[in-house]
Symmetry: C2
């Protein structure tokens, strides 16, 4: 065990430089805890990559001091990297019941022996004492249920981590952000506040969830046909709103799509969704009910091509095919990058004669992240001495720092940190004097981290202009060509239309072979590199494309 | 020459089913004209594709009847396909001076002999009579200058095509949409209005351009360092606003970036930009002036990695490197799909200590397309009997149809058409009874249309998991392996980390070879297909990836 300094150190491993990948270590002496272990969805250039997780070497190296990992809520960008960590190290997992419910399923799917992971359910009523820390959980409202912020009592003062949050007043108190509890901490000398920067660019306040409910009720009560609502599976609050509307309007409820079904079943088990079971019917029975007595809650709000909604829209769903008089409600955000997929489905649904309601034309969704005025409120409630913006790209953190300044914090007390920075409290100030290794690990299939810059570069080149393979076999003794040059291509040109290009390329190759005398030293090497260069030039000149050239040259 | 019906026929070849690709044929008997010939930028799945143009077979086949092509304005989505058409057929080109200026440069770059294209400058004061048509041009405001709508007097009535437009009052009258002229047509029995649907999802009115000017002036006058403004090169109105602010604040103006320089030079030649030439300096001299006396107008507002702004941000621009106290203004839209590239540059600029102003945080850009209230105004001004929404995906056209209904048009008089539909006027109604061939042609390098579904599918597969090439040479007589199995891969795994996978794959192949007896008929064919199948399964099982497998099997 390494000897650790008796000082408070906050080490973000992800989420300070991107949206997603949220993970942070907090340590004091030999006590350390982790808050969240999130994933990120791949950026466009990460071709073929499934998900991205943080480099967690620091945690693996220091696992002997880590007493627990605390999950603020059940979204992938906060829990998605956890299975990859738990397969290597054994750290107890703390979270609220719904969060634990979701992560348990994930861990099971990951084939980590269930017995090897220790789960602890936490709730806002009970504190958890671990090593040098005492943790207190503060209910926050977000786009999934059971979210918490965490107040961490350390030997040198209280740190508050907001988790992902927004403020919403007109909902059941069990879902509200507990602003009173945050305010109580405001009277206790909070050393530092770490707050969610995701929506710092948005002025004003988020729309109250009750308004979304009103709009949904309005749309659904005016509909005379089936209603199909697509949403994020984890948005249990929204699902409850829709259930309530359905019950009031005497519509039977169908849950369809794997993630919605899973999420609803966990919420039911925990008593977080309660309704008359007679009102739920199986998708197989849906067509036995009149259209006006049906509401279908489903997946596919991001335009995923194999989702239930996509299959309904294109007419390949087994039970439900979109038809005239259906109303489809996409009660979700258009996540950047998914716009085209989503609007393709919207266009398809309109062409089938149904109506579609989506966030661009109606208030049927609200972000789960606080806007500027709510962020200001959080700072004012907690009255921290220091402020560390978290959860955002650099520009979000930058704006959140400015916002904190605008409500009275002095610039020296705002820490604009990046992933890996060791933010250390020296008794007077937070300082950044060192950094630990961080970064992004690309997960592609079962491969974790083997896809790096060079593989991605090759994929990009292949994706843009395909490839051309040239096979030539020389007689080892005579140096005469006994096979080829044979040219095949993939993703480059379509044979029947531009095939002559490929034929002409053979002449280019034959000239090279003629030019390099049979007795030349390293003949195959020289020919290989000459073919590479000549064909690249030739295709660039003739058709302005740069396929990957793979010469396979054998001497037999 | 085919014998044509004496009836009015409107045939959209693009733009009714997508944003972009705008092109339309209008014909009566043997007279036909074209309005616009636009391109579209490729969608995500069109890997390696440069641009998309409409299938123009109908125009090529009927070129003998086509009297002219009329360009509404100089944006790529209205003129970008024209060079591809003019290299095959000779049709006179009509447009306002700036539009003609831009298209001339494009045609020259395309190496179409200049003498073979006939240009006609038009303006809102003079009508053009061609065959059965008389065309009248109506000034419209848009995000480039010299835009026009077109009123087409046909033997059966007046048709109005709005072009791309919005309403803006507080600008010089030479840039305003001429609502009075549209209103005059409203008193003349307009048979049909075809109107821009791009922003039909947006409620209310566009922000007036003068407000954008105020915001820009405010930001720039409060800056004590250099100001760098990135914008769309064709947005001459915005460029003029910035020039005026610069002159008022005693800042020298630098134009940087090829497209900005071209566009400004054309506008200057035409007298559409006027300012004291002493106030413009060359980029090479920029560093001789104090920062507070400089403003740089540049390209790169979409995050293009080789643009001037990107090079300034990353520190590789020859003259200008972003530094503390610079203010960078992105006076442009975040086009969906470019978000990540744009925000990467914004983050980089912030990290260099400079400030960045962009549309998410400040009103420094306004769309060039009318919002709902302006669209309603256009319908009310022109009082058409029939309404045909144009310029949009199906959902935009659908909403524009609803909007027209909401202001009093009857549903039967609204034509929701798609590309290729022949919208024919029978004296009482517009009917769609036939369609012509339309579609999208993918342009990749010099290849026009040779990249189709199969090439794109191969590129997609290559992009996701790369490829594995297996080379085996058998002795033709003995059937013994004399070379291989040799395995090489690209974009699949990184050799040093997952190389064992590839080695293990050799065993899989050797087993197959053993299993297929040397005298088996079609031995190489059988081995090839078995390898394909077995390796696909093997890699899917071991690493959950599906690279393209290319077996090269020779018998020598």
């Amino acid at each position: 065990m390494s000897i650790k300094k008796k000082s408070l150190r906050i080490i973000p491993l992800g989420g300070l430089g991107e949206i997603g990948l949220n993970m942070m270590v907090i340590e004091y002496g030999d006590s350390a805890i982790i808050i969240d272990a999130g994933l990120m969805f791949p950026e466009d250039y990460m071709l073929g990559v499934d998900i991205v997780i943080p480099v967690m070497d620091y945690v693996r190296k220091n696992s002997d001091t880590i007493l627990g990992i605390f999950l603020t809520h059940a979204h992938e960008d906060h829990i998605g990297a956890l299975p990859y960590l738990l397969k290597d190290v054994n750290i107890p997992v703390y979270g609220t019941p719904f969060t634990i419910g979701i992560i348990k399923r994930k861990i099971e799917e990951f084939n980590i022996p269930g017995s090897s992971v220790v789960y602890h359910e936490v709730n806002p009523k009970n504190k958890v004492k671990l090593g040098e820390f005492e943790l207190d959980f503060i209910r926050v409202n977000h786009s999934t249920i059971d979210g918490v912020g965490i107040a961490i009592n350390t030997p040198v003062g209280i740190i508050i981590h907001t988790g992902d949050f927004k403020i919403s007043y007109s909902i059941a108190s069990e879902y509200k952000t507990d602003i009173n509890k945050f305010a109580q901490y405001g009277n206790k000398n909070v050393l530092a506040l770490m707050s969610d920067s995701t929506n710092v660019e948005k002025e004003g306040y988020t729309v109250d969830a009750s308004k979304i409910g009103d709009t949904l009720r309005n749309i659904i009560s005016n509909s005379s046909g089936r209603v199909i609502v697509a949403l994020f599976a984890s948005n249990i609050g929204r699902i409850k709103q829709v259930i309530k509307i359905a019950e009031n309007l005497n519509r039977k409820i169908v849950f369809n799509g794997r993630s919605v079904e899973t999420s609803v079943s966990i919420a039911k088990e925990l008593g977080r969704i309660n309704f008359n079971p007679d009102n739920e019917i199986d998708i197989k029975d849906a067509n036995n009910y009149p259209d006006e007595n049906l509401i279908i809650i489903t997946t596919g709000s991001q335009g995923e091509p194999m989702s239930s909604l996509a299959r309904m829209a294109t007419g390949v769903h087994k039970q439900i095919k979109i038809k005239t008089d259906d109303i489809v409600i996409l009660s979700s955000k258009f996540i950047p990058g998914n716009e085209k997929a989503i609007t393709n489905i919207i266009n398809t649904i309109y062409k089938r004669g149904a109506d579609v309601i989506y966030e661009k034309i109606s208030d049927i969704h609200v972000s789960g992240h606080a806007f500027q005025e709510e962020l200001k409120m959080m700072i004012n409630l907690t009255k921290p001495t220091f402020f560390i913006p978290i959860h955002g790209e650099y520009r979000h953190l930058f704006h959140h720092a400015k916002l904190a300044e605008s409500v009275g914090l002095s610039k020296e007390n705002i820490i604009l940190a990046e992933n890996g920075n060791v933010i250390e409290y020296n008794g007077n100030n937070f300082e950044i004097n060192e950094s630990v290794t961080t970064g992004r690990v690309l997960v592609d299939g079962k491969g974790i981290g083997d896809v790096g810059r060079s593989v991605l570069k090759e994929r990009r080149m292949l994706s843009e202009d395909g490839l051309v393979i040239v096979t030539i076999v020389f007689d080892e003794e005579t140096g005469i060509v006994i096979h080829g040059p044979e040219i095949i291509s993939r993703g480059f040109v379509f044979w029947t239309q531009t095939g002559h290009l490929v034929d002409d390329a053979q002449c280019v190759i034959l000239e090279i072979i003629e030019d390099v005398h049979a007795e030349t030293k390293n003949r195959t090497e020289i020919i290989r590199s000459k073919i590479q260069k000549a064909l690249t030039q030739y295709f660039n000149y003739t058709i302005r494309r740069r396929p990957v050239i793979v010469p396979i040259i054998l001497e037999l």
